[in-house]
């Protein structure tokens, strides 16, 4: 066991962890931040995406100890200060960009990261960026629409329905 300390959602946390503890296990099991999900064991599905020092990271590909001193943000900290949905979250609801909700936290974290780097992505840029986030419910249609809407763009005509 070793001690690890980091800032998670603006709060300093410190715990004893095993060397093999993944960041996602640390968040879910030690901090009980269960909004971050585990959907695979090969870093493919993206359900566990969080932000580490502002960058989107799959929390299953990183040991908790590697996050020593880092600023970590999870889905639980994404809403506005008054608790209302932020722009990306609201767009996902408005455009029905989620169904079962399991991939959704990772999608929101990835989409947020994309829009930070590319405030007006094209449809194709969004599809390419989300290559590491699997959704089994929506067929991606409304996720793409939601992200385009969150970036202030009109939908292409094909996407009208």
């Amino acid at each position: 066991m070793a001690k690890v300390a980091m800032t998670v959602n603006g709060k300093s946390v410190s715990r004893e962890v095993e060397g093999r503890t993944l960041l996602v296990q640390f968040l879910r099991d030690d901090l009980r931040l269960t909004g971050t999900h585990v959907g695979c064991d090969t870093s493919q599905c993206g359900a566990c995406v969080v932000h580490v020092n502002g960058e989107a990271v799959k929390a299953c590909t990183m040991f908790a100890l590697e996050a020593e001193g880092a600023e970590v943000t999870t889905i639980e900290a994404m809403a506005n200060e008054d608790g209302s949905l932020n722009v990306v979250q609201q767009a996902f609801q408005d455009y029905h960009g989620l169904q079962c909700g399991f991939c959704t936290p990772g999608m929101v974290m990835s989409a947020t990261s994309l829009l930070k780097d590319n405030p007006k992505p094209t449809e194709q840029e969004i599809r390419d960026y989300l290559e590491g986030n699997i959704c089994r419910c929506t067929g991606y249609h409304n996720i793409i629409k939601a992200i385009m809407a969150a970036s202030g763009q009109d939908m292409p005509s094909m996407a009208a329905e």
Binding site: M78, L85, T104, C135
Partner: protein, 791 residues
Amino acid sequence: MPKDSATGTGIGASTKRREDVRFLTGNGNYTDDINVHGQAYVHFLRSDVAHGRINGIDTSAAEGMPGVVRIFTGKDFEGIGGLPCGWQVTDKHGEVMKEPGHPVLAQGKVRHVGDPVAAVVADSLAEARDAAEAIILDIEELPAAVNMKAALEPDAPKVHDDLSDNLCYDWGFVEENKGAVDEAIKNAAHVTTLELINNRLVANPMEPRVAVADWNRSNDEYTLYTTSQNPHVIRLLMGAFVLGIPEHKLRVVAPDVGGGFGTKIFHYAEEAFCTFAAKACKRPVKWTSTRSEAFMSDAHGRDHVTKIELALDKDNNFTAIRTETLANMGAYLSTFAPSVPTWLHGTLMAGNYKTPNIYVNVKAVFTNTVPVDAYRGAGRPEATYQLERVIDMAARELGVDPIALRRQNFITEFPYATPVAVEYDTGNYPATMDKLEEIADLAGFDARRKESEAKGKLRGLGVNCYIEACGIAPSNLVGQLGARAGLYESATVRVNATGSISVMTGSHSHGQGHETAFPQVVAEMLGIDASMIDIVHGDTARGPMGMGTYGSRSLAVGGSAMVRATEKIINKAKKIAAHLMEASEGDIELKNGQFTVAGTDKSVAWGDVTLAAYVPHNYPLDDIEPGLEETAFYDPSNFTYPSGAYACEVELDPETGKVTVERFSAADDFGNIINPMIVSGQVHGGIAQGIGQALLENCIYDENGQLLSASYMDYAMPRADDVPFYAVDHSCQTPCTHNPLGVKGCGEAGAIGSPPSVINAVIDALQSGGHKVAHLDMPASPSRVWAAMQG
């Protein structure tokens, strides 16, 4: 009742989903988010061979490992029931299917890669895994039955030693049709024959399965939290058939469930194990599947090998269909596996067409592979795929337009009794085809093909229709067909004193948005705001016996139960209102949440009546009881029959064989619609899964029964850049005639209707490039397409 409305909260409104808020903020409550104080963790040691004899399991070293609570093997489950099968098929000779045992932990033999052999319960998951590595398994590997055809050979390895062979059943449907079908095919002007494979798939809901079980030593009650589409069914199957726990001592909770697609219908060994072990260890026990475990323990889907013949007369009218299928059951019979290639497949073989003679033969085969059961569509995609492929092939052979050939043979009069024992109540197949031609802009295809060709690409167009049987179904009928369950649904409408309402439904939502759509119905009926109504589901302790969600049945069956219960509420509330207003009950009207006396200005509000029901000071106590809570069980009189027409346009790169879906259009008839936004979302998701089956997904075993596609590195899930925007339309509506909402079900349509049009489009593209490829099996991967192009 339905109306065209983009706002509001009643029927027909695209109300935004209330459940989204908790999912978008990380506040969902999935089974793995549930932790019970003092819980231990189980890790299953699984077979790494497809078939083998267990000569010994040495757990002595593992038992001393840190944190180990107890290690279980098959011996611990001797005398305890195996996992039951919920559907018994009778074969064409009148014999019942072979039904081998399915132990919770393997006994004597292992029969597929992933078959659980031992289970380690420990203080932490890591300790359980560490200890499992110290277990010494002595398994003598045996030759495996993998390929279905080979498994039926007389000298094939037997999956179950106590059975005479690997044939589960040989089903003929309808047996009396066979002579006429053979005769019609013999006398046909043209017969098109197609042999094809419906590839094995893995459902892959993004949330892996989880079970957390607790046992209360003070009252001997069990609680199981599990990722299920039908917690009441799990309670019945596990309690009555596996562990012998009476239902009143067993609570099953399925909280937020992260997708199901059929694979979370079934009762699994891990659920029974955790419940058993919780008492044996006197500690809560939790299991969370990894994705790799999911690939080798979740029931798989499809896996049919089929030969279909379509006979036509000289005017291109369909005269007969004959089809033979080998259907893979895997190593054990999963809960509803036998029904999928039979009653959910054979009964749909007429499709949208008036073919007078149809005969379906299905041989179900045991192999040393993971059990196969219902996956989104379940039998209906397999029927649709072969039928719509063979029609396309016939059109090509005859040199006629594939859409015209379909239109010529459409059923146009309803009700229509098919030669395969079902009666379609309503439909308008020409209307959905007209709508498809419009939304898919089929008129513009030639120009788009020229654009593709100018870029050095081939472009293909594929079209197909589909019909499905949903809203499963009348209990007395399915009982005759072999179901060991009723297929009604329940609803309790509990009106509280202040007028708010809890609706307990036996349906289960795992992405379908019931928490939003179901209140829209009740709100419409009562004229109150939907925000006053909450849906309660997924907990056997909170609602009456329910059958759960699958087969696109929630609204058609569960919604109907809710309507019936709400009607009872209205009847009783009117009695109370009549008393309060000193009027005759027959004169009471309910509108916009107000009870009025017809022809007067007297009225009382919804809340006045509900309060009177629970504070009955001024109340007709001689006539009715206090309280306002009603339950209804609804058992439908028929299936529902959604239908539609789909079109796919692909672009094919002749250099690489890579196929991309450029356009996909779907015109569906779902009858009446409660929430159009949710319906569109259901279709989108189904289409993506269908495109996945057609182009990407394939669950592969090697000749020894090793599972080669057991992770997302090897099993190609559709990703955002594999699919286009879809054009979907559900404005063609022929309401169901036999349920109160006139609804048909929309959950599976996309997955049923999309694979044939994708493959039809790939073949069209290849043929347009001069490649004489008549058929290509799914998935049409670049390597397969490229190889086909080389001849």
